[in-house]
């Protein structure tokens, strides 16, 4: 008991001494300046961002909401305008790569031939590829649920490869195109087995 009292007294004295030394120091300049701004997507929708700083947390979930740290230990909220964001972040924003775009092409039953409607989509896809710097094309084939899993795995891959061949013939380097077949595993429209839902006979082509 007596020991701990002595200990407390010493601690208190040490604390006092430290306070006295710190007091005359000039106000410290900002140790840092970090700003985070949530942006709306191209469709105007916003997601959310959780900003954590030294145990404090702030959730940004409205367009142009900001979180800022200037003094350690203080997380300030705020708001900028679209113009202010453009001004301050213009070089980073203009270096943003084009957004990946996904196209869906449909096939005739049990075949690697496109439906007539899908055939007409192809020029749009090649225009998109032409607009991307160092383009990559990811082609994923799918099937309906008629036939065995193994059969559909092969059919979906054949569909994807068919699309790659088409793009190569159009002059797109083969090494820019990757193919995969997912068989009947990822239907757009869920069905019973052996159902020939035409919307599931497709390839998804992502250009990025």
């Amino acid at each position: 008991m007596r020991h701990s009292l002595v200990g407390l007294a010493l601690l208190a004295a040490a604390g006092c001494a430290r306070t006295v030394q710190v007091a005359p120091a000039p106000p410290a300049p900002p140790a840092r300046d970090e700003t985070i701004v949530l942006l709306p997507g191209p469709d105007g929708k916003v997601g959310s961002l959780t900003v954590t700083h030294e145990g404090q947390q702030q959730v940004l979930d409205v367009p142009y909401a900001t979180a800022r740290v200037q003094q350690p230990g203080t997380l300030e909220g705020g708001r900028l305008t679209a113009e202010q964001v453009q001004q301050r972040f213009q070089p980073a924003l203009s270096a943003q790569p084009p957004r990946p775009v996904t196209f869906v092409l449909y096939f005739l039953d049990d075949s690697d031939e496109f439906t007539p409607l899908s055939k007409r989509e192809i020029p749009k896809i090649s225009a998109e590829i032409a607009g991307h710097p160092a383009p990559e094309v990811v082609v994923v084939g799918h099937t309906d649920r008629v036939g065995s899993l193994t059969y559909n795995d092969a059919l979906s891959l054949r569909r994807a490869e068919r699309v790659r061949t088409g793009f190569v013939q159009m002059g797109i380097p083969r090494e820019q195109i990757s193919v995969a077949g997912r068989g009947e595993r990822e239907p757009i429209v869920p069905t019973e087995d052996e159902d020939g839902e035409p919307r599931n006979r497709r390839v998804e082509i992502t250009v990025r």
């Binding site: 970090e34 942006l39 959310s48 900003v51 980073a92 270096a95 943003q96 790569p97 990559e136």
Partner: protein, 150 residues
């Protein structure tokens, strides 16, 4: 007990092997303007259009530089001049879309559009600044780490 241990070692080895396979090529440089350098295992490589990035790469821009990268999960990250962005971790399963994406903006400006990793599992994408950690839930944002006079 001993089988259990051997089993765990086997699992760990498999996970490591998978990790390396995934980490090989995680994204591509789509925009490189002015001075842009990729720091990779102690070497400085000039960034070029179409160059592939690896886990652990650090993208550095000079006063006239800016750079944009598209990652395999369709995330888009770009930085402005005098910026340093470290790609600490990137793992993405193209079948399940599960993954992990950690980056650090050490200085400068960053613009980010999150991709399939953040869409699949909230909090799987994190951006660190010197003072903060950002948990990304399917969204777009910008970050500025301003230089502060010493």
């Amino acid at each position: 007990m001993r089988y259990g241990f051997v089993g765990w070692v086997a699992v760990a080895l498999l996970v490591t092997a998978g990790g390396i396979a995934v980490a090989d090529e995680i994204g591509r440089v789509k925009v490189a303007r002015g001075s842009v350098t990729i720091e990779r295992t102690g070497r400085n490589l000039p960034a070029t259009l179409g160059m592939t990035l690896q886990e652990g790469d650090v993208v550095v821009t000079g006063g006239d530089g800016s750079a944009g990268v598209t990652f395999n999960d369709d995330s888009l990250l770009s930085i402005g001049p005098d910026s340093t962005l470290a790609i600490d971790r990137f793992a993405f399963d193209t079948t399940t879309h599960a993954g992990r994406f950690d980056t650090s903006l050490r200085r400068g400006t960053l613009s980010a559009v999150s991709g399939k990793i953040a869409r699949q599992s909230p909090d799987a994408m994190k951006v660190r600044t010197p003072s903060t950690i950002l948990g990304v839930r399917g969204t777009e944002f910008v970050v500025h780490v301003a230089p502060v006079a010493p």
